[in-house]
């Protein structure tokens, strides 16, 4: 057997952290099948009621609405992030490259609260967009953008842009440019070369970016809570309300569990659906 110096020192701390995470997930699983005792933080006996309650219209619609919100956000993000990632990888000037990188990545490190607050000022009735439109004489009454789904989507696209740019750029930077040169020298137009060579080759980055944007949107809480203002219900805002407004932790647990299963299912599905396209890229 090969020597493995320090393996215990390397692996056991990580195993402890993994154990903590697994215990937290097990706690959710356990609470999700326990009865809610109103007015108490203790839970009652075993029950499946929390899962049948998920089928009630409010929760079923919020669930469906969240999935649509995630798909919409991930799609818009993909279309906005691709040109930026492309420019980031292909631009020749070093200063311009640094600028694009800093500009597109800085928001990643600002945290959801700062970014959401900034969007509240942009979208508000006395906010930036309404003031500009009003002073240009395009509108007389403010457009309602706060507390609407389009407002939430705009802010969420902004939240998922940086990670999408990073993942797309990582995929694009690993493409062997000789393939493109070959296509061009054989007479393919730039557009054709992009559509038939570059785009298929960047598919792994697109899949990774899309699934991550989906998962991040699903995870977002401050944005739908503050910009949705109770008008746009998502799984995350409902879980928080159930936990901290009505202290119904068993139901909050079953709702999060359903969300988790759904996230994993969608990501697995997306990878499977994109597999033929990826294979095209490998050829």
């Amino acid at each position: 057997m090969k020597q493995r110096p320090f393996i215990g020192w390397f692996v056991s701390p990580a195993a402890l952290v993994a154990l903590g995470l697994a215990a937290a997930m097990a706690a959710i699983l356990q609470y999700s099948v326990r009865a809610y005792v109103p007015g108490s933080l203790d839970v009652g006996g075993l029950t499946l009621e929390n899962f049948t309650a998920l089928l009630r219209p409010l929760y079923a619609w919020a669930f469906w609405g969240t999935i649509l919100l995630c798909l919409l956000t991930a799609t818009f993000t993909l279309f906005l992030a691709y040109p930026v990632a492309y420019a980031l990888v292909r631009v020749r000037s070093k200063a311009l490259k640094s600028f694009i990188l800093i500009a597109s990545v800085t928001p990643l490190f600002l945290g959801e609260v700062v970014r959401t607050y900034s969007w509240m000022i942009v979208l508000g009735n006395n906010g930036f967009i309404n003031s500009v439109l009003k002073s240009l004489g395009i509108i007389d009454r403010p457009l309602q953008m706060m507390f609407t789904t389009p407002g939430v989507v705009a802010a969420l696209v902004h939240v998922t842009m940086p990670i999408m740019v990073i993942m797309l750029a990582a995929g694009l930077s690993h493409i062997d440019r000789n393939y493109e040169k070959a296509a061009e020298s054989l007479g393919a137009s730039p557009v054709r070369c992009f559509l038939t060579v570059t785009l298929p080759l960047s598919m792994p980055g697109i899949v990774a970016g899309f699934s991550t944007a989906f998962a991040w949107t699903f995870s977002a809480f401050a944005t739908p809570q503050l910009i949705g203002g109770g008008k746009v219900n998502t799984v995350s805002t409902l879980v928080y309300q159930l936990g901290f407004a009505s202290f119904n932790f068993p139901f909050a647990a079953s709702l999060s569990l359903a969300g988790l299963v759904m996230t994993f299912a969608v990501i697995a599905l997306m990878k499977r659906a994109m597999r033929p396209v990826e294979r095209l890229g490998e050829q």
Binding site: A18, A24, I121, F249, L260
Partner: protein, 271 residues
């Protein structure tokens, strides 16, 4: 190719498109900066008169000060623990075969796709079951779990770029495994370790959703304090604080870019 060709109409359209998108990305930061200097207490645009007073209020507001120090405590512990745990595991992952290797890797990387509110809720319920209360250790554990994938990735990438022959040379000259680790491997990994730690620290300092679930009044970090503020008040104090945030973060990233090459850290440089 839109960006490498001489200025064809296609290339110009591409440049314009990227400029517009970057404008969308930077718009909120620009708007929040203008708002922060608004003299009036109402969030209106554009401001009628300008002042620095919201910066003074942001820096002197008690909850923000407390949240800042709490955040520093949590971030220092969480990013350092994540660095030690993550670099050890990255070494094991890169070099050794061991049982449950891929399971352990999958579990530790799963916080990248598990919603933060789920992790927060799980830890909250766990702490209730173990009756350990919501103190700093719980918040730190949540942050370690959430930032570990980023440390792992950063250290793993530097391990892949490390020339293994240097270690072989050291051990063939008689250095013990411990000596090889501390005098060859770790010094060569310093850029990856520093950038991993920096990433972990920035992400931990800004983490919000999971912290909202696992913290209480005494342990709330700055983002949680900011969230509570925006729910109660609508003056530009938070805009001023956001500007400080944006400036400090952009400075840190520019420094990281100068010293380590951000493109290399994020693995987006062309090879």
């Amino acid at each position: 190719m839109p960006f490498s060709m001489r200025k064809s109409p296609l290339a110009l359209a591409g440049i314009l498109l990227v400029a517009i998108i970057l404008g969308f990305v930077m718009l909120p930061a620009i708007v929040v900066t203008i708002t922060a200097f608004n003299d009036k207490a109402i969030l209106a645009f554009p401001p009628q008169s300008y002042s620095w007073r919201w910066f003074a209020r942001a820096l002197s507001y008690g909850d923000f000060q407390k949240g800042f120090w709490n955040g520093l405590i949590v971030t220092a512990w969480a990013s350092t623990i994540a660095l030690i745990v993550g670099s050890g595991f990255a070494l094991a992952l890169h070099r050794y075969a061991f049982s449950l290797k891929s399971t352990l890797e999958a579990v530790l990387l799963s916080p990248l796709v598990i919603p933060h509110f789920t992790i927060g809720l799980g830890l909250l319920i766990l702490s209730a079951q173990l009756t350990v209360g919501r103190g700093f250790p719980l918040v730190v554990l949540a942050h370690v779990i959430l930032v570990l994938p980023f440390v792992l990735r950063s250290v793993f990438i530097s391990l892949q770029n490390l020339d293994g022959r240097l270690e072989l040379a050291a051990s063939s000259l008689g250095a013990s495994p411990r000596r090889v680790l501390f005098t060859v491997t770790l010094p060569l990994l310093v850029p990856g370790l520093v950038s991993g730690w920096l990433f972990a620290a920035i992400l931990s300092f800004n983490e919000f959703t999971a912290t909202l679930f696992v913290s209480n009044q005494a342990t709330q970090t700055l983002p949680v304090a900011m969230y509570n503020y925006v729910r109660e008040y609508a003056d530009p104090t938070l805009a001023a604080l956001s500007v400080i945030y944006i400036v400090v973060t952009a400075l840190l990233l520019t420094l990281a870019n100068l010293f380590f090459g951000l493109g290399k850290i994020l693995n987006v440089d062309a090879h």
